[in-house]
């Protein structure tokens, strides 16, 4: 396979953003919307083709591309395995949905918005494809620029504060990772992660390097106590921005733990497990309680994201097969569900320009289709069996039980709280009496909204009943991840 299919996948959105930049439509933005839709669908199909042709019986990296980049130093190395392909497909799947959503919600500077989204897509796919620490860092950080602009230009009233907080928090976290990456280069003589896996980083350096990586991933994840940028960013970001932020950007950190922290620093990962457990449990319980008290819908969903990401970190660091598989499953399913929930908020926000829960109530009387879909996603978010949300949480808890009953018990408590805030949100928004007379004049969801939400609902339920397509894809890679980890621990 000599055709550089991964590079094509990465740079296709960038190329099409260039076309949009050059396209001239003054009055309507149709041509830019069509170009971006077309290119994002093409990217999606290409990623599906990749998934189809990926050999899932091996944990080796496939479609590897290695190009000379910086002399004798860094190679532009790309490759995917069973874990990364799912995140790539998630990215390419969410992007067209975002583009559809901005037809309704973005009114000013549509062209620039589409360019920002497509450039962001390039960087996101790049993160999941890169097999070199420097390339990874490059894509990981580069995503800040378009996201900063998306929040700042198209955001709500407090957008400047939120955009700055988002940018500076993430940058502060990642500079330490950059030092660690450089230190790894001088320790091992390479930044190619497949070689670093072989070389094994000396034990005495692992803890400090692991912490440096944590500083970046914890902010991005986000883990308590550095999660505070997330609610602000979500609240102020436009709908499409929130969707991308929740569905994909947060997953980069979880992916980072799986791809970098655990295989490169197995001993440190073992050593710091209690720390991660503590932070995850605090995230699950504390942020769930905070979510209960929110009166802003987007803020509530943002806090629920922090709680869900708590399960992900918990699952990853159980370092059991169930735990890690559950985490990956949880990330994918949260990618779909949180995207859908933010879209749902966006739908009513476009109509009434309010995110406050108190504005709504009794929507089921006037927007039945919308209410049904909202209910589906709310139930999926709280982990109802039969939706994809259930499987992830269940596997994570199953993995946690193998390690510690106490931690698992506390985490289970979070499930109850999750049900509480989600159901209460549904009750206050969808059911109840109609207090606001404006609701009576609302239109139910239109065609493009139906397309987005029904597609998402289909996959949420499909993967709830039939997890095999996802599970089969990553199970071999996860097995080898755990095997390598065990070997590294035993050989110390």
């Amino acid at each position: 396979m000599n055709f550089p299919i991964l590079s094509t996948l990465i740079f296709l959105p960038l190329l099409s953003s260039l076309f949009i930049f050059l396209s001239k439509d003054k009055t309507s933005n149709n041509s830019s919307i069509y170009i971006s839709l077309f290119s994002s669908f093409a990217t999606f199909l290409l990623s599906l083709f990749l998934w189809y042709s990926l050999d899932i019986t091996t944990s080796e990296f496939q479609f590897v591309e290695e190009n000379y980049w910086i002399n004798n130093f860094i190679k532009f190395k790309l490759g995917i395995d069973g874990i990364s392909i799912l995140f790539i497909v998630l990215t390419t799947f969410i992007t067209p949905i975002c583009i559809i959503s901005c037809i309704n919600s973005v009114k000013v500077r549509v062209k620039e918005f589409l360019i920002a989204i497509l450039i962001l897509e390039t960087f996101m796919i790049g993160v999941f494809c890169s097999l070199d620490l420097v390339i990874f860092y490059l894509f990981f950080e580069a995503g800040l620029i378009p996201m900063f602009l998306i929040i700042g230009v198209w955001g709500g009233p407090k957008r400047v504060y939120s955009a700055f907080k988002f940018f500076l928090f993430t940058l502060l976290g990642s500079v330490l990772m950059l030092v660690a990456i450089i230190a790894i280069y001088w320790l091992t003589g390479t930044t190619d992660i497949t070689q670093i896996y072989e070389i094994k980083i000396p034990k005495e350096y692992q803890n400090i390097l692991w912490l440096a990586f944590l500083s970046s991933f914890a902010v991005k994840m986000p883990m308590w106590p550095v999660h505070t940028w997330l609610p602000d960013a979500h609240v102020e970001a436009p709908t499409a921005g929130s969707v991308i932020l929740a569905a994909i950007l947060l997953k980069m950190a979880g992916y980072g733990f799986l791809r970098f922290s655990i295989p490169m620093f197995p001993i440190a990962s073992e050593f710091f497990t209690p720390l991660i457990y503590t932070l995850s449990i605090i995230a699950i319980i504390y942020t769930s309680l905070v979510a209960l008290m929110q009166d802003d819908m987007k803020k509530l969903i943002a806090y629920s994201s922090v709680a869900h990401m708590g399960y992900v970190t918990l699952g990853i660091f159980t370092l059991t097969k169930q735990g890690i598989e559950g985490s990956i499953y949880q990330m994918i399913s949260h990618g779909l569900i949180s995207a859908a929930l933010f879209l749902c908020v966006g739908v009513v926000y476009d109509r009434l320009h309010s995110r406050m829960i108190s504005t709504y109530g009794g929507l089921v009387n006037y927007l039945p289709k919308y209410s049904f879909l909202f209910l589906v996603f709310a139930l999926a978010a709280l982990g109802l069996p039969g939706t994809s949300g259930f499987l992830g949480e269940f596997l994570v808890l199953a993995g946690t039980f193998q390690k510690s009953y106490f931690v698992a018990m506390l985490a289970t408590f979070g499930v109850v709280l999750g049900a509480a805030y989600m159901l209460w949100l549904t009750k206050r928004v969808i059911f109840g009496t109609v207090n606001n007379s404006e609701i009576k004049s609302l239109n139910d969801i239109n065609k493009s909204e139906i397309i987005m939400l029904v597609t998402l609902a289909f996959f949420v339920i499909f993967f709830g009943f039939y997890p095999a397509p996802l599970m089969d894809t990553f199970s071999v890679s996860v097995n080898s991840l755990i095997d390598d980890y065990q070997i590294a621990l035993n050989s110390q």
Binding site: W69, Y137, E141, A142, F148, F164, L171, L176, L178, A183
Partner: protein, 471 residues
């Protein structure tokens, strides 16, 4: 002798051309345009001569003058950046009535001084070159002689710079006294032995050099001179003398002081950290774009010095890469200032940029790229500059310097973001007349293209710079 002439051909050509265009300027009336265009041609020819000349290391005139890849690289960098700075500021010069024929001639004279600075292998030649450069810069700072702020900045620069030159000269004489030679190589050999006196001399010389590159705590002149001098001069100050100053600093550390590394390393580390922190903190509260760029240049010199502080070849290389990318970014940033024209007046406050993304999308996106690059955000060129520096710093196990440096990167990102916020998030106030300055637009375009595409093939600069230190 003819061989020696051949080796110094760029310098000879430059001096003779300066005299020629000086005559043209004196004898022909209203000759600014002719002199200006001839100067650009001279710069291009000099670049051609240097490229055409062979690159191997030769020392002539009793080993006081070197021609090597190192000096040639810096000469070309100085020439090309002057060419861009000079040409993109032409409209500005004419509109602000600075179009005296001396202007380009003095710039060429300062370039000649820098040539001797980067080629010097001897204290005397180095000092002469430095003074030729400084004297030209004093005149340039106060070239707008009817303007109070310009003359003030000229005087300020002159007084402080003369003081630092005095210290430098005192250091040179001490060094001569303790080592018995003015030749760099001889001094280096003499310093193998324990030599306390030479350490004193080194401190004085470092003070002088730190002043020339405006590193903390000898930076005080920078903001005032940057703000007071006309923008065309400021952009020259921000780019070209910095390159020459850093080249000289690296040369001093690399040849005469290479054997007292431990003594100067601590000083450079201190200067570097202080510059990074002061650059980041003071720039946050600035309202004038030029003043902000002054503080940001102090910070950038701090990063470049962090590479020098390693005392290793890889560190010097990273500094050279840093300063090269810095030059590209600053040419772009200053060229943007030439486009901010409204009713015949050039705006230089950050608040004037408010909301220009709506009316001037191309200018806004260029500024966005340049500012993010200055902040060091990947995948733009500025990131690679910082990356190479910190690579060298961590290689030499100076973790504290690396971490402080990267934390100040975050702090400085704040004020770059503030400008981007003004450009993109705020409401439109002023519509500028941008259409007329094609050369400035070309400079911005070149600078942005290099910054964006740098990540595609970063080895070019890397290979070039690593070939400078083969000896």
């Amino acid at each position: 002798m003819i061989d020696n002439l051949n080796i110094m051909l760029p310098e000879f050509f430059l001096s003779l051309s300066i005299f020629t265009i000086l005559m043209i300027g004196v004898f022909i009336k209203n000759s600014f345009n002719i002199v200006f265009n001839l100067s650009s041609l001279i710069i291009i020819f000099t670049v051609a001569i240097i490229l055409n000349n062979s690159n191997n290391e030769v020392k002539i005139f009793l080993d006081s003058f070197t021609r090597d890849p190192f000096s040639n690289y810096f000469k070309i960098l100085i020439l090309i950046s002057s060419l861009f700075v000079l040409n993109s500021s032409k409209n500005f010069i004419v509109e602000n009535k600075l179009d005296k024929f001396e202007y380009p001639i003095i710039i060429l004279l300062s370039i000649l001084g820098m040539f001797f600075m980067v080629s010097a292998n001897d204290l005397i030649l180095f000092y002469l070159g430095l003074e030729l450069q400084s004297l030209s810069l004093y005149i340039l700072a106060s070239i707008d002689r009817d303007n109070l702020r310009s003359t003030e900045s000229g005087i300020k620069y002159f007084v402080l710079s003369a003081l630092s030159s005095g210290l430098l000269l005192y250091g040179c004489s001490l060094l001569y006294g303790f080592t018995g030679s003015t030749n760099f190589d001889v001094i280096a050999n003499q310093l193998i032995k324990d030599n306390t006196g030479a350490v004193f001399a080194m401190v004085f010389i470092l003070v002088g050099l730190a002043f020339k590159v405006s590193a903390v705590p000898f930076h005080m002149w920078t903001p005032d001179v940057y703000e007071g001098a006309p923008t065309s001069i400021t952009s020259y100050f921000a780019v070209v003398p910095k390159v020459a100053g850093l080249a000289l600093l690296i040369k001093f550390m690399f040849i005469p002081f290479s054997n007292i590394l431990l003594e100067w390393q601590t000083i450079i580390i201190f200067i570097s950290i202080a510059s990074m922190i002061l650059g980041a903190v003071s720039a946050m509260v600035q309202k004038n774009f030029k003043r902000l760029l002054a503080y940001s240049s102090i910070g950038h010199i701090g990063y470049a010095l962090a590479g020098v502080a390693t005392g290793a070849t890889s560190g010097y290389q990273s500094s050279i890469i840093y300063i090269s990318i810095y030059v590209i970014m600053n040419i772009g940033a200053f060229s943007c200032l030439y486009l901010l024209k409204k009713d015949g007046e050039y705006k230089e406050n950050i608040s004037d940029l408010s909301g220009i993304s709506k009316k001037h999308p191309i200018l806004a996106i260029s500024l966005l790229i340049i500012l993010f690059s200055l902040a060091g955000v990947p995948p733009l060129g500025g990131f690679f500059a910082k990356f190479y520096v910190f690579l060298a710093v961590v290689e030499n196990e100076m973790y504290a310097l690396a971490i402080i440096g990267l934390l100040t990167t975050v702090m400085s990102a704040f004020y770059y973001l503030k400008i981007i916020k003004t450009i993109y998030f705020d409401d439109n106030v002023i519509t500028f007349e941008t259409r007329k300055n094609t050369i400035a637009q070309f400079s911005i375009f070149t600078s942005c293209t290099i910054l964006i595409t740098f990540f595609l093939y970063p080895s070019v600069l890397n290979n070039l710079v690593s070939s400078l230190f083969i000896n």
